[in-house]
Symmetry: C2
Subunit: 330 residues, 2 copies
């Protein structure tokens, strides 16, 4: 199939950019040094490419992602880097043969893991992002509690999500150090082999973590694109110009095919005016013609991918692969 034959809107993945990104990251962080985060692409076929480069362990954000990865034969070492209060599905997954580790940051989540039949946990430590994670000084106590409930404690995780997007590399480096000082101290109290942290923006400066949970590097993001990173934009939404008026044109993608939390998407050579459910209105000089195809670059990849059923890997006008986005939902 050719790109110009695709029904729109359609997710396009530039196969060469994807390959470049995967290989660049794997060279920098080979094997177990990288635990790719699947939330960024929600696609087991893409995860399979990451596994083929030597990364056996993966990071997930939802139970569905954990289940989907195991079903795809990628369940060798799955970390749910998120808290759950009902771990019964994770317990079932573990009994089915997948290696399942879940983050805990409170007595309630430790008890949930034990009750659900999950065998292994990491203690999630707050390193500065106001989200999940226990206070660093509480990590040892939670590890003791977990062990007393029969859980294996594999170590700690702590996501410096407030740092990964800082554009100034020197500042980013300094602040990562401060975050990781907290995590390393917590790890000393917790024990275990894992210090899991980091993201695409800190993959090469977070040298404290034993493994980096980067995900965005594969398809990249316009926000990350502003940083000094060696990864290329690999994803766009293909759309068709369905209407042209004096002064503006309209394509057939919109709020239901684009993650909007970072604002409007961009179109090369055009000014985006606004998005509706199934439309983007924009101006350009010259305007396109009705029927033209346009590549719309979403401002945030993760919630964009979650709207789509499949992604099309392309090489020029050739669709070389169609990958189901099979890790959606919860």
């Amino acid at each position: 199939m050719k790109v110009h034959e695709l029904q729109t809107p359609a997710l396009l993945v530039d196969g060469a950019a994807l390959a470049h990104n995967l290989e660049t990251m794997s060279s920098a962080l080979p094997g177990e040094r990288l635990r790719p985060h699947v939330k960024a692409h929600k696609c087991t076929a893409l995860a399979g490419r990451q596994a083929a480069l030597g990364h056996a362990g993966f990071t997930c954000a939802t139970i569905r992602e954990m289940e989907g990865m195991a079903a795809a034969g990628l369940g060798q070492d799955l970390l749910l880097a998120n808290e759950v209060l009902d771990a019964s599905r994770l317990g079932a997954l573990s009994r089915s043969g997948a290696r399942v580790t879940v983050a805990v940051d409170s007595e309630a989540t430790v008890e949930a893991a034990a009750r659900g039949g999950v065998g292994e946990v990491v203690v999630d430590v707050n390193v500065g992002l106001p989200r999940c994670g226990c206070a660093p000084e509480d990590a040892g106590r939670l590890a003791d509690l977990a062990r007393s409930r029969g859980l294996e404690v594999r170590g700690v995780m702590g996501y410096e999500g407030h740092i990964v997007g800082l554009e100034d590399r020197a500042q980013r480096t300094e602040l990562v150090g401060q975050c990781m000082e907290l995590l390393v101290k917590a790890h000393a109290a917790v024990g275990g082999e894992l210090i899991s942290a980091g993201g695409t923006g800190t993959y090469d400066i977070n040298t404290w973590a034993t493994e980096i949970q980067a995900g965005s590097y594969a398809l990249m993001d316009t926000a990350y694109g502003k940083l000094d990173l060696p990864f290329r934009q690999a994803l766009a939404v293909l759309a068709t110009v369905i209407s042209v008026s004096p002064g503006w044109a309209v394509v057939d993608c919109g709020l239901k095919s684009l993650g909007m939390d970072h604002g409007n998407p961009s179109i090369e050579g055009a000014a985006v005016w606004f998005c509706s459910d199934e439309h983007v209105t924009f101006s350009s000089d010259p305007l396109p013609a009705v029927g033209d195809r346009v590549r719309v670059v979403p401002s945030h990849i993760d919630p964009t991918v979650a709207y789509h059923e499949r992604m099309h890997v392309v090489d020029g006008d050739e669709v070389v692969d169609v990958w189901p986005v099979d890790l959606r939902g919860w």
Copy 2:
């Protein structure tokens, strides 16, 4: 099943509010005066409730919505209120027995309808919103062209989308009149029985249209909630508190379960700080406990619903129905 047993995040529909909204609208616009827009809920079970109240015709925004409605036995009179350049699937739908009408606003879209085998069209007229629609003075020419291609021209449509959300009712009324003057004039040149326009914000003041394309009224929206409308908020995302720290708490819904183009969601009695892929961080006094359930109200319903596989119709703590969101995708 009980609400407190649901896995989260989960879409909740307040059954009483939904029934109130559907009945209030049907009383104001009985039968053919309303052509409910399914893009707002993407759910054939909900559309079935609208049909049961006497609305046989529906408005759709995508080909998938058209196909899904027909497959659910609701294909008696489907209007795709959007332009398409490849109408082959619509033609197949028409041949399968559904009544299919598609909007056209250019020579290319007229030709696409004819080539695809769609029998009926409406001429989409721009009444002021910079999106689709031909110039009002061009409508007659396009109708002639369509008829010359063997298409039945059922009339005109023109969406006053830049007006429907204005909070001042007097201003809204005045501007709707100006928009509809353009549409009525175009209709005089086009002919046909339909003048299709309007939305939830203008359902009772757009007296020029022969049918109103309202959709949001069923589940409602926080933006529409600011208007003087008799419809109630019926939709929320149920989430679980997964982490509590000194000063904030975190629930397990986020950017992949909430439409974000209108900004952050709201939580009663709380201040929402920010959303991540699978988290909302917020503060409240007192803070909730880990494991508590919270109802998160999205700022925009349509792109919220499109992230979810199902909606749960609830009456207090009782889940009385589970409806697949079966019109997603394209």
